[in-house]
């Protein structure tokens, strides 16, 4: 039974999930456009950051330190992986994007394996325990913000959606209104031309790693808020989805990525509402991706590389 109230609730739900997809896809596309890498495992780094923040919160019980840990670890992993990508690009003379994806997959394997053996014995971690969240703040966000009959929207969903919107707006502001953003777009359109104009490629590349690191860390904090838990294989699943969204929208297409990411979030939420089962929403998501990719291998909005 799908009446209008449930539908609206699911759309809000989907938008909050979608805003996380938007953040992930935009980070992925930025790295693709500016640093010229297919960072397939970008979401895995974010799941890693969630784990780091969980560890810190487990030890200190401090929410602020947890968020800080998420951002710091995302930047750190990004900065550590940067020289590896730079290295393979130099070795091959020109940029071989396939090789960057394989390297990224290797990094993803490494991180996923590590989290699934070394942390919490490989069991999913929860942010809703006494140790992690001694003040009960996170648990408090589970309370309904609005409730109308069967329908309820929790504070965590509203918070995620609002923060997500602010983050996406901030990101696009950086891209379109700042000096660094202008340099990003110039490199994205024509790296050689940008170099001739006098834009420092290395410095701008490093800036893009830092920006996506900050973005990734904040996304990790949001995901912890929205999902309340994480498991080692979450990263791979998100990795596939992000790559899927990016391909469906057209690789490197920032605006297209935003639209498709929000749509996917809504579709997943609605499917979840109809079938009330977790595994089917993923199945429908991948079925949709499959159909669209088969029909339009170059994306709905076109590749912008």
């Amino acid at each position: 039974m799908l009446n209008i109230e449930i539908l609206i609730a699911q759309i809000v739900n989907g938008l909050s999930l979608g805003s996380i997809y938007v953040l992930l896809v935009t980070g992925f596309n930025l790295l693709l456009l500016v640093a010229m890498i297919i960072h397939f495992s970008f979401p895995v780094i974010i799941v890693f950051s969630i784990y780091m923040s969980w560890i810190v919160m487990n030890l200190t019980g401090s929410l602020a330190l947890g968020i800080l840990a998420a951002v710091a670890s995302a930047i750190l992993v990004n900065m550590v992986s940067a020289p590896i990508f730079q290295h393979i690009m130099r070795k091959r003379g020109s940029v071989d994007i396939n090789a960057t994806m394989v390297i990224s997959m290797g990094m993803g394997m490494l991180i996923t394996e590590w989290t699934s053996h070394a942390i919490n014995n490989g069991f999913p971690i929860s942010f809703e325990t006494e140790a992690v969240d001694p003040h009960g703040w996170l648990r408090a966000t589970r309370a309904p913000f609005i409730r109308a009959g069967l329908v309820s929207i929790s504070y965590s969903q509203v918070l995620t959606l609002l923060t997500g919107i602010i983050l996406v707006a901030a990101l696009f502001w950086v891209l379109y209104k700042t000096k660094a953003g202008r340099a990003f777009r110039a490199i994205a359109e024509n790296p050689d031309g940008a170099r001739l104009v006098g834009i420092p490629l290395l410095k701008t590349g490093v800036q893009s790693y830092i920006l996506t690191g900050i973005l990734g860390g904040l996304t990790a904090a949001l995901m912890a808020l929205l999902l309340g838990q994480a498991s080692p294989d979450l990263g791979d699943q998100l990795g596939h989805k992000v790559l899927g969204i990016s391909i469906i929208a057209g690789l490197g297409n920032l605006g297209g990525g935003l639209v498709i990411a929000l749509l996917l979030g809504i579709v997943e939420a609605i499917v979840q509402g109809v079938f009330s089962g977790g595994s089917w929403s993923n199945t429908v998501a991948f079925l949709l991706m499959l159909v669209i990719v088969l029909a339009k291998p170059r994306g709905v909005f076109g590749i912008k590389l």
Binding site: A99, M101, E113, H240
Partner: protein, 317 residues
């Protein structure tokens, strides 16, 4: 032959086939992971048609096909169905960019897994087991030996076929697509047809490996479809070298063998070991251990020795 050794040999042979299945489309720059889904599809088909059963609690709901197809028939079925599936998909993504092909592979993996996990007739998450032996009537050890022979027969057969392909006009065309797709198109190479051919072959190969795998484990479950397998086959391909068919022949026995002789406590870290090797090899030797220049040098070494008598004979006359 001991069970451990025969198991090692069979799995090695199967993984060589799997790695070749990834190697073929990558000849023209496509990473086609659909073969992993195909492997599982054909394994399930094989299980259904050979008379395997699902676990006890689900047996009432399960459809009993009551079929007892022999090994060779299930093998053909698996290869044909997988190849057909691969061909149909390749009609849409034969000339697609690498990443579109990647995501199709992943989507297929997820879908296959979701269907297998939610279908009672396929045993849900427990999968199907009690697959009959390859040859009923033979003892366990004789069967194992037979399986090893069958697997390596297919390695030889497929290896020979890939060798012929690589040496042919088509193989050269595939390489040219890998290097520069636009140039290849302007030279009159039909990229779509090429992709279609290689993707179909890859899928059929996946189907072949799937049925062999089924008869080795004598069971199949959805848990085989994991991202680790993608990582595993890719590591084997890239470490061995993706520019020639010989890379997997070198890398698979070694990479599959090392974790087996590692101490028990380190076994759980074997995927970390693969990941580190994968990253390391891409940084140090981006084309893998066995490259074309290396082969040429080896070839020259062997060739010189053979040419010498002929050359000296020429001098005399």
């Amino acid at each position: 032959m001991s069970a451990t050794l025969s198991n090692y040999l069979t799995i090695t042979a199967i993984f060589i086939l799997c790695t070749w299945a990834i190697y073929l489309p990558y000849r023209m720059g496509q990473l086609h992971f659909m073969m992993i889904a195909n492997m599982v599809i054909s394994a399930y088909l094989g299980a259904l048609f050979s008379g395997a059963v699902v676990s006890g609690s689900q047996v009432q709901e399960a459809i009993n096909l009551n079929l007892h197809w022999p090994f060779i028939l299930t093998l053909i079925l698996g290869v044909v169905v997988s190849g057909l599936l691969g061909y149909l998909i390749s009609l849409a993504i034969g000339d697609a960019p690498c990443f579109a092909v990647v995501i199709v592979g992943f989507a297929f993996m997820y879908l296959t897994k979701a269907i297998a996990e939610n279908t009672t007739a396929l045993g849900r998450t427990f999968g199907m087991f009690r697959v009959p032996r390859i040859v009923e009537g033979l003892s366990n050890s004789q069967n194992r030996l037979f399986l090893v022979c069958v697997c390596f027969f297919f390695v030889l057969l497929v290896g020979f076929w890939i060798y012929r392909f690589d040496k042919s006009k088509l193989g050269r065309a595939a390489s040219s697509v890998f290097v520069d797709r636009d140039l290849a198109v302007s030279l009159g190479i039909n990229v779509k047809k090429m992709g279609s051919l290689l993707q179909t072959a890859s899928s059929a190969l996946g189907g072949l490996a799937g049925v062999l795998y089924l008869y080795t484990l004598r069971a199949i479950s959805p848990s085989f479809i994991t991202f680790h397998n993608v990582g595993l086959f890719m590591t084997m391909l890239f470490v061995g070298g993706y520019t020639t068919q010989w890379g997997p022949l070198l890398a698979v026995p070694i990479l599959w063998g090392i974790p087996l002789i590692m101490p028990e406590s380190l076994q759980v870290w074997k995927n970390v070991f693969y990941a580190v090797i994968l990253i390391g090899i891409l940084m140090l030797k981006p084309e893998g251990v066995i490259t074309r220049p290396l082969l040429r040098r080896l070839n020259n070494l062997v060739f010189k020795r053979r040419l010498k008598p002929a050359g000296s004979g020429k001098n005399l006359s």
